[in-house]
C-alpha cells in the first residue's frame, strides 16, 4: 500500500470509526452516571 493510501486510511478511519467509538464511550459513561430512579446524571 502506498504512503498516501495509508495516510488516507488513518484519516478516514479516525474520523468515522474514531467518531463512532468516541460517542459510544460518551453514551456508556452517561449511562453509568445515570440515576436509575430519576434518570438524572450525577
Amino acid at each position: 500500500m502506498s504512503q498516501e493510501a495509508i495516510i488516507g486510511m488513518i484519516i478516514c478511519l479516525s474520523i468515522t470509526v474514531g467518531g463512532f467509538l468516541t460517542f459510544l464511550v460518551i453514551a456508556l459513561r452517561a449511562d453509568k452516571d445515570e440515576d436509575p430512579e430519576t434518570g438524572e446524571t450525577a
Binding site: S2, G8, M9, I11, C12, F23, A30
Partner: protein, 502 residues
C-alpha cells in the same frame, strides 16, 4: 380501550433501531461503489455532509417524534399546523412508497442467502459443481439467475412474501418484544459478519489494492463538484435523514432520552458500517478482477449488478469463497430486513394513531407492502422507476422538514425540542445554520438530479407526448409526486382532524 403506550427500554433500543433503519442495502451496494470510484476524497466529504446534512435533520426528526409521541402524520402535522399539514402527509407518502418497493429487496436478499446456503452445503458435502458453475464466466449462471429472479418470478414474490410475513410477526409483538429484541440480535451480528468478510478479503493477494483505491485522498478531486454532490446525496440516502423514520423511532423514546447524543451515535454507527462494507467488497473485487481497470468497470455496473451478479461470481473464484459469500449474503439479508422493519413501523404507528390495534395495523402494513410492492417484484423496470422517483422524493421530504423547522424558528426549535434532557449539546448556530443550508442545498440537489439526463426524453417523448412511461424521466417523477401532493392537499383537513387534533 386505547393500547398502553409503548417505549424502548433504554437509549440502546433507540440507537439499535436507528442503526437498523440506516444500515440497509445502500450501505452494501451503493456506498462501496461510489467510495471505490472516488476514494478517500469522497469519504472525507461524505463524513463532512454527515455532520452538515444528515445529523441536523436526524436530530430534528428524533426530537419531533419524542416531543409529540405520534407517527409522522400526527407529529409533523402538530409542528406545521393545518396550513402546512400536507407537507407531513407528503413525507409519509414518500417513505411508504419506498417501503413498498424496498420490501422486494428483502425478498431478493433472502433468495440470495438461500442460494448461497445451498452452494455452501454443496461445496462442503457434495461435488462443489454448483460453485464451479457460479465461477465459470462462460456459464453466466449468476447473470441468468438474477435476470430470472428480477423479472416475472414467482420465486421473488414468494421470498418477499416470507420476509413481509416475518416482519409482521416481529412488529406485531410490539416495540420492546419485537423491534428492540430483533435489533439486539441483527445489528451486532451484522457488524461481526462485515468484519469477518473484510478480514478475509483484505488477506487475499491483491486485496490491498482495493484499500488503496478506497482510501487514497487526491486533493485535486476536491475541485470536482460531482464528488461533493455524490457525497451529500449518499449521506442523505444512507442515513435515512428526512425520511420520517427517526420521527417514528423518536415517538417510542422515553422522555429522558438524550436526542443529540443518540443521533450522533446512530449516524456515526451507520457510516462505520458502510465503511466496513466497502472494506469487505472493494478488496474482494480488486483481488479477483484481472486488472484494476476491470475492477473499476465492475463498480460502474450499478448497485444490483455489483451485488447480485458480479460479487457472487468473484466470491466463487476465491479459496473458501462459498463460505465468505454465505456470510456476505447473510449480512446483506440482515441489513435489508433491519431497514424494512422501521419502514413498516412507520405505517403501523400512523395506523395505531388512528386507533387501529397494533396487530391489525401490522397485518394491514404487511398486506399493503405485499400488494403495492408486487409490480416492483414482477418487473425490474418498475422497481428501478420507484427507486428513482421516491429516492429523489426523499430530498423533497428533507426540504419540507427543514422548512417546517425554519417556520417554527430553528433556534427556538432546538431549545424547545432538542435540548430537553440532552447532556450532550451542539451550538444553536450550527443547528440553525445547517437547517437553512439543508433547505437551499435540498432544492439544488433536486434540480441537479433531475437535470442529469438519465432519460433521453426527460419531459416529452419523440411524439411530443408527456413521457410518464420512461422509468427515469422527469415526467414520471413529477407525475407521481403530483399524485402524492394531490392526495396530501385534497385530504389535508381530514388528515389534520384524524391525526393531529384527535
Amino acid at each position: 380501550m386505547a393500547e398502553k403506550r409503548e417505549e424502548f427500554s433504554n437509549r440502546w433500543g433507540i440507537i439499535l433501531a436507528a442503526l437498523g433503519m440506516a444500515i440497509g442495502a445502500g450501505n452494501l451496494w451503493r456506498f462501496p461503489r461510489i467510495a471505490g470510484e472516488h476514494g478517500g476524497t469522497f469519504i472525507i466529504l461524505w463524513m463532512f455532509f454527515l455532520v452538515i446534512w444528515s445529523i441536523p435533520l436526524l436530530m430534528a426528526e428524533l426530537a419531533i417524534g419524542k416531543h409529540y409521541r405520534k407517527g409522522t402524520l400526527g407529529s409533523l402535522g402538530s409542528l406545521s399546523g393545518k396550513k402546512f399539514n400536507w407537507m407531513g402527509t407528503f413525507v409519509t407518502l414518500v417513505t411508504v412508497g419506498i417501503a413498498f418497493y424496498y420490501s422486494v429487496v428483502t425478498g431478493w436478499s433472502l433468495r440470495y442467502f438461500l442460494l448461497n446456503t445451498q452452494n455452501l452445503v454443496n461445496y462442503l458435502f457434495g461435488s462443489g459443481a454448483m460453485n464451479e458453475s457460479f465461477a465459470d464466466p462462460n456459464v453466466n449462471f449468476m447473470d441468468n439467475f438474477w435476470a430470472s429472479l428480477s423479472n416475472s418470478s414467482w420465486e421473488a414474490v414468494l421470498c418477499y412474501m416470507v420476509t413481509i410475513t416475518v416482519a409482521i410477526w416481529v412488529l406485531g409483538k410490539g416495540i420492546k418484544k419485537g423491534l428492540e429484541k430483533t435489533n439486539k440480535i441483527l445489528i451486532p451480528t451484522l457488524f461481526i459478519l462485515l468484519l469477518v468478510v473484510s478480514a478475509f478479503a483484505i488477506q487475499m493477494p491483491g486485496g490491498v489494492e482495493g484499500l488503496e483505491y478506497l482510501f487514497t485522498i487526491d486533493v485535486e478531486k476536491f475541485k470536482d463538484p460531482i464528488i461533493w454532490i455524490e457525497a451529500i446525496t449518499d449521506s442523505a440516502w444512507s442515513t435515512g435523514a428526512g425520511w420520517g423514520l427517526m420521527i417514528t423511532i423518536g415517538s417510542f423514546s422515553r422522555q429522558k432520552e438524550d436526542v443529540t447524543l443518540n443521533t450522533f451515535l446512530g449516524a456515526f454507527g451507520n457510516n462505520t458500517a458502510a465503511l466496513l462494507a466497502a472494506m469487505a467488497i472493494l478488496p474482494a473485487v480488486f483481488a479477483m478482477a484481472a486488472t484494476p481497470a476491470e475492477a473499476i468497470d465492475f463498480l460502474h455496473g450499478g448497485n444490483t449488478a455489483l451485488v447480485f451478479t458480479i460479487l457472487p461470481q468473484l466470491f466463487a473464484q476465491m479459496p473458501g469463497g462459498p463460505f465468505l459469500s454465505w456470510i456476505f449474503f447473510g449480512a446483506f439479508a440482515m441489513a435489508a430486513f433491519s431497514s424494512i422493519l422501521p419502514m413498516m413501523q412507520l405505517i403501523i404507528k400512523n395506523l395505531t394513531d388512528y386507533e387501529i390495534p397494533k396487530k391489525k395495523a401490522a397485518i394491514i402494513a404487511g398486506a399493503a407492502c405485499f400488494v403495492v410492492g408486487f409490480p416492483s417484484a414482477w418487473w425490474l423496470d418498475f422497481f428501478e422507476n420507484q427507486d428513482w422517483v421516491w429516492g429523489v422524493g426523499l430530498l423533497v421530504s428533507g426540504i419540507f422538514i427543514s422548512f417546517l423547522i425554519i417556520k417554527y424558528g430553528p433556534m427556538k426549535f432546538k431549545k424547545d425540542f432538542i435540548d430537553q434532557n440532552s447532556d450532550f449539546k451542539v451550538s444553536k448556530y450550527y443547528f440553525a445554520g445547517m437547517i437553512y443550508f439543508n433547505f437551499v442545498a435540498g432544492l439544488f440537489l433536486v434540480y441537479w438530479w433531475m437535470d442529469q439526463g438519465y432519460s433521453e426524453y426527460p419531459w416529452f417523448d419523440e411524439n411530443g407526448k408527456w413521457n410518464v412511461i420512461d422509468k427515469f424521466s422527469n415526467a414520471t417523477i413529477v407525475t407521481q409526486w403530483a399524485v402524492a401532493l394531490v392526495i396530501a392537499v385534497v385530504f389535508n383537513g381530514w388528515f389534520y382532524r384524524k391525526f393531529v387534533k384527535k
